[in-house]
Subunit: 329 residues, 2 copies
């Protein structure tokens, strides 16, 4: 098959620009025993991809090699097969990268239950789901009656965290970057939603969380971080999942002073998805059930064609996407 792929050829200099990629065409490789060819139909764009472009080898996942296809997760169907467990037409998800076709085996593609839309897989069951599940249940460990604040709440991870926390009986407060996103958060069950660009952020948060904040799911850094940190209750737990506000700057913002960490005995813990792949089964069972029962809403922001990824990924950092950012191939 003729495959078009997008390779990373330079490291980004703060912002992601078109010149760090090259578009290449090739014939797909011959399949050996056990392999199958996936025709990718939907490709996920996620904030974590910014980190994968960095040369920093001390990060949690190796960088994408220069000259290699850009790493990403996606959904597709089996188009050729040398593996009887993956017959033609099987719906699969995996880290297929920025390309039309990917040669896979059983370790690099996971079969998905037929009948779940590809957009739901990428929005709920893939990276966002495992990330939200891990941070909420394994790091924060929420208790019914507590109050949780979530930054980047209208993002794919944040919106799942909020809805799961609501199901667990928490008071849920979301931060987002536009009034439209805040309005959407209220429609999916958030108790309060605050535009983090508001001038009176501290007062808005005090009004939204009169009993203080027990749990914080951090996706962004910035103004929300400081407002929440100063209103944390004793024995508060903070899961640090993303600092999207800082990924594209060369002057990272200062964090809060640590005195409150002592006074309130706060626990702050960073986590990343690849450490917890083993949890996928638990997550999929829980989230799949929510999805079937209509307890979890999601929305998608779909852009068209492989090459739209190059400009489109920047929507994640400008806040220009309304919903899970997906490239339809």
């Amino acid at each position: 098959m003729k495959n078009t792929r997008i390779n990373l050829v330079k490291r980004p200099n703060i912002k992601i620009t078109a010149d760090i990629f090259e578009i290449a065409a090739e014939e797909t490789a011959e399949l050996s025993d056990g392999q199958f060819l996936v025709k990718q139909t939907h490709m996920s764009l996620d904030p974590a991809m910014r980190g994968w472009m960095e040369p920093d080898t001390t990060s949690y996942i190796p960088p994408v090699d220069l000259g290699a296809v850009m790493r990403s997760s996606g959904v597709g169907e089996v188009a050729e097969s040398n593996n009887p467990d993956y017959p033609l037409g099987t719906l699969v998800a995996g880290m297929f990268g920025w390309q039309q076709y990917a040669v896979c085996d059983a370790t690099s593609a996971r079969a998905m239950p037929a009948g779940i839309p590809a957009e739901a897989i990428l929005s709920v069951l893939a990276l966002p789901g495992i990330t939200a599940y891990q941070g909420l249940f394994n790091v924060i460990k929420p208790k019914s009656g507590e109050t949780i604040a979530i930054s980047g709440a209208a993002g794919s991870v944040g919106s799942l965290v909020g809805q799961m926390a609501k199901i667990e009986g928490l008071r849920v407060i979301g931060f987002a970057g536009s009034d439209e996103k805040c309005a959407w958060l209220k429609t999916i069950g958030f108790d309060e939603a605050i535009n983090y660009k508001s001038e009176n952020l501290v007062e808005l948060l005090q009004a939204a969380a009169p009993d203080g904040i027990d749990c914080y799911f951090e996706n962004t850094g910035g103004a929300a971080q400081h407002a929440v940190f100063n209103q944390m209750n004793a024995f508060g737990r903070i899961a640090v999942c993303g600092m999207i506000g800082d990924y594209n700057t060369d002057t990272p913002s200062a964090g809060p002073n640590w005195v409150n960490i002592i006074k309130k005995r706060i626990k702050i813990q960073g986590f990343t998805m690849p450490d917890h792949q083993a949890d996928w089964g638990n997550m999929a069972q829980k989230m799949g059930a929510y999805l079937m029962k209509g307890q979890i809403q999601y929305r998608t922001h779909v852009i068209d064609g492989l090459e739209s990824a190059i400009e489109g990924i920047n929507l994640l950092f400008s806040g220009g996407n309304n919903g899970k950012l997906i490239v339809k191939l």
Copy 2:
């Protein structure tokens, strides 16, 4: 008995000054059944006392009421008794406050094994010991072969943490505020000691910890915090015990940006001694054994007379004490 005590009568305005205290004389109260009178011989001065003077009721321990005796831990002996379990002469430790005599019962004074010097009790088995034990074993959970950095390492807590970590098989790096303190740290077994006032702190730390830092016991904040934070290894654990550099300022220093928390999956956890009183037995057993075997060194900085506490407590914040600060009555 005639008792002299020092009451807190004002909240400190940044620095601790003599005018926030009053010296009062009174007759000790009559003992009821089960009570006994402790004649305090040694009184401990600890950084945490600064926090107890604050009106902030959201902190981990209620503030000292205005007009009440200043809170502190100490050692003494039973001078009068209505409790057969605490005969005259029994060596006891407890939160006796800034006074010569304290009326106690079995819940407010703990009998100490005879033969341990009062200074060893206050330096190793009381507040410093339970604090060091809790932070090291319950928060950091050190593993043999790891590298630990400790700020305020020449302080009563820091010096115990370092010596216990060494016994557990870690590489131990201490920060202190004078070359004399650094030299002392080497004599008690620290692998490396760094004066945090050095200009090339980052390079000194890199040389001292060529494999990076796995564990950090934070007592001070400031320059050491930032240098260590940027050299933490993946899955690093940070116990936040004190921020002594910030207690006496009205402009707390900025903390580090949180991006590293994600990349390195760092856990940062604040803790305070009163949450873990129940651990006293385990701690005393472990530390007592170390003490008997000569595996734990301590040094004391003794000042004389009840009223010397008023000026003396500021030694903790200027770094002017060399060893556990104790008032001898």
